[in-house]
């Protein structure tokens, strides 16, 4: 207790610095990857993508981020054994933040597709094993998180597959694809607004003191969906068949309808990312803050302060502006193979899956779900060529990330303990 009282402010400052550093890393790489799809398909310029990312990242973190933070904060490790030494938990959380940030840094420079989520869970487990004892890790919960890492890309892929099939059935394989594209596009946009807002609101805005009934949530989601589809209709109403472009490629007009539609999935992608990944980044920070501010209480149940969510969002946006836009440009240049219609399906599927996972408090990987969704499009015979070696890379990076995060967290834990203790 004395340690917390003596060094409390220093600990919070350290946690803020480490947390910002980590969120910066997420923005520089992870978010840039997720948004690059929209840039690549020509739906957004870099500036627009950054603008959308800033707004919706914050909204996502604020409106739907709390649950995942809670899981990171309390779901993985059980601190009952160290209630008399709360500083242990503070060291651990700091170590986990630093370990994740550094591991993300290494991975980004090497180009490895590692996941923030996996690193932080690995780091938390690593710290808990050496700092509290292996029995303090809630292995059951860890198991369900790990299963969600396998299941979530599959769900994303399945939704993407179904969406691609539906666009074929309703739009591409008809006598007048363009007419049908314009007819059904508002429907698809409605789907974006409706699902994202429904999942977000469903019993989930308590931390903002907004309590909606089930019917109220549905009503608002429908309203929100209608508004988005109206905005979408405004964008696509004037698209006409370009006969010159059609000579080259007869679905050029249809793809043009999907281009502004990607605007909406880009927003939802940033929102989903904010709801899951920001929450990951600030979970340990929130834990440190709550321990210090309560004067060493490990088990207390204080609500998550909004400023921490905002801090996470700021870090991510900083990362995006300083380094992420370059990643976004590269990704955008490389992913030209994804036509707007396929990009739309993949992003909508990924965003929906991530937001659902966030609601249930499962820390999942946005990037991996997006990859799963792209595979789903591929399975629907919708993409020219997918390199499965990248999938293998993802699986290897999975296996490496958990122990790497754990080992680094152990190292930093003992270092911090040495410094403060």
């Amino acid at each position: 207790m004395e340690i917390i009282a003596a060094y409390g402010t220093a600990m919070i400052i350290l946690a803020v610095i480490f947390g910002l550093y980590m969120c910066w890393g997420i923005g520089a790489n992870d978010l840039a990857n997720a948004m690059g799809t929209s840039v690549g398909s020509g739906a957004l310029t870099i500036k627009q993508a950054i603008g959308i990312a800033i707004i919706f990242e914050f909204l996502g973190a604020l409106l739907a981020g709390g649950h995942v933070t809670k899981t990171i904060r309390k779901g993985i490790i059980d601190p009952t054994n160290i209630t008399s030494n709360p500083e242990i938990l503070v060291y651990g959380m700091l170590a986990a933040l630093l370990a994740t940030a550094i591991w993300l840094m290494i991975a980004s420079t090497k180009g490895w597709p590692v996941s923030t989520t996996h690193s932080i869970i690995g780091a938390l487990i690593g710290f808990a094993i050496v700092g509290i004892g292996p029995e303090s890790v809630k292995w059951g919960k860890v198991g369900s998180v790990v299963i969600s890492w396998i299941v979530s890309p599959m769900i994303g892929g399945t939704i993407a597959f179904i969406l691609v099939m539906s666009t074929r059935k309703l739009i591409f394989n008809t006598d007048n694809p363009l007419k049908n594209a314009k007819k059904f596009a508002p429907g698809y946009i409605f789907l974006v607004g409706f699902t994202i807002s429904l999942v977000t609101m469903f019993k989930g805005l308590k931390h903002l003191n907004i309590n909606l009934t089930t019917a109220g949530s549905f009503g608002f989601a429908i309203l929100f969906g209608l508004i988005t589809s109206l905005i979408g209709y405004y964008f696509i109403r004037n698209i006409k068949e370009d006969l010159n472009a059609n000579r080259e490629f007869s679905y050029a007009g249809v793809e043009k309808v999907f281009t502004p539609m990607m605007l909406f999935t880009a927003c939802s992608m940033a929102f989903a990312h904010g709801s899951n990944d920001v929450a990951n980044g600030i979970g340990p920070l929130a834990a440190v803050y709550s321990i210090v501010s309560s004067g060493g209480e490990v088990m207390q149940n204080s609500p998550l302060p909004i400023w921490i969510l905002l801090l996470g969002g700021t870090g991510i946006v900083l990362g995006l502006i300083t380094l992420g836009y370059r990643v976004m440009l590269t990704v955008g240049e490389k992913i030209t193979e994804l036509t707007p219609s396929r990009g739309f399906c993949a992003q909508l599927a990924a965003a929906t899956t991530v937001v659902i996972a966030s609601r249930t408090g499962l820390p999942v990987s946005t990037t991996h779900i997006l990859v799963g969704a792209i595979l789903g499009v591929g399975l629907a015979r919708g993409i020219g060529a997918l390199d499965l070696r990248v999938i293998l890379n993802i699986i290897i990076s999975w296996v490496v990330t958990l122990p790497a995060g754990a080992l680094m967290a152990m190292l930093f834990f003992f270092t911090l303990k040495g410094i403060f203790g």
């Binding site: 180009g111 490389k334 993409i383 020219g384 997918l386 070696r389």
Partner: protein, 228 residues
């Protein structure tokens, strides 16, 4: 080998394999487009122009060859494609054979100073016209690959392509008939001609016929994509 390869995430999506195939087919087509001028020069007995045109065909054929090799090198087994990888590789090699045949014809006409028998001229023209037609039909078929990808190799595009395929089949049948007539005519006048030249005329007719056979192979190969 590094533990993790440095393949970034965006490496997941590779370039569409259909673009290089279409590019290759365009080169093959321009190769075939030079065959009528080649015969024109032959009719005029302008040997310089004949070797000139043959040289152009050869250059284009080499270009097509290069494109084929790069394509093959960029098709690792780890790729996940909407169509069978082997079918795709066979498709480009079938296309390449068409350019090879064009080059063969050019070679014969440069090495041997051939004189076109008067009786054969009309039929040769007919054969050339038919060949041009079938190759441009085959090219049109390949140009549809983009659209096929968009609809997932099914649906409405499938009807369109099936029609194109059956047109190629019909053209091949017609060319066969012209070939028969050409060979019969050649037989009827072969006593008046130099025996070695006659041998080569049979060969040239066969080579022209082979181009249409190869186009039909292309159509059959494409059918494999659709029937999956």
């Amino acid at each position: 080998m590094p533990f993790l390869s440095n393949k970034p995430l965006y490496g997941l999506m590779r370039g569409s394999p259909f673009k290089p195939i279409q590019e290759h087919m365009r080169i093959v087509f321009s190769c075939i487009c030079l065959i009528p001028p080649l015969f024109d020069a032959l009719y005029k007995e302008d040997s310089e122009q004949v070797s000139d045109t043959a040289e152009q065909i050869k250059t284009l054929e080499t270009e097509a060859d290069k494109l084929k090799s790069t394509f093959r090198l960029n098709m690792p087994k780890s790729l996940f494609l909407p169509v069978d990888r082997k079918d795709l590789l066979s498709l480009i090699s079938d296309q390449d054979h068409i350019a090879d045949t064009a080059e063969d014809i050019g070679k014969i006409l440069t090495y041997r100073k051939m004189v076109v028998p008067e009786a054969l001229k009309e039929l040769l023209d007919e054969l050339l016209e038919g060949t041009m037609e079938i190759v441009s039909e085959a090219k049109g078929m390949i140009e549809q690959l983009d659209e096929l990808l968009e609809v997932g190799f099914g649906g409405r595009e499938l009807d369109k392509i099936s029609k194109m395929i059956s047109r190629v089949r019909r053209s091949e049948h017609n060319i066969d008939a012209i070939m028969h007539r050409a060979k019969k005519t050649l037989f009827s006048v072969e006593r008046e001609l130099d025996p070695v030249s006659v041998m080569f005329w049979y060969k040239i007719i066969d080579l022209l016929g082979r181009i249409s056979d190869q186009c039909e192979n292309l159509a059959d190969r494409l059918l494999l994509f659709l029937s999956k």
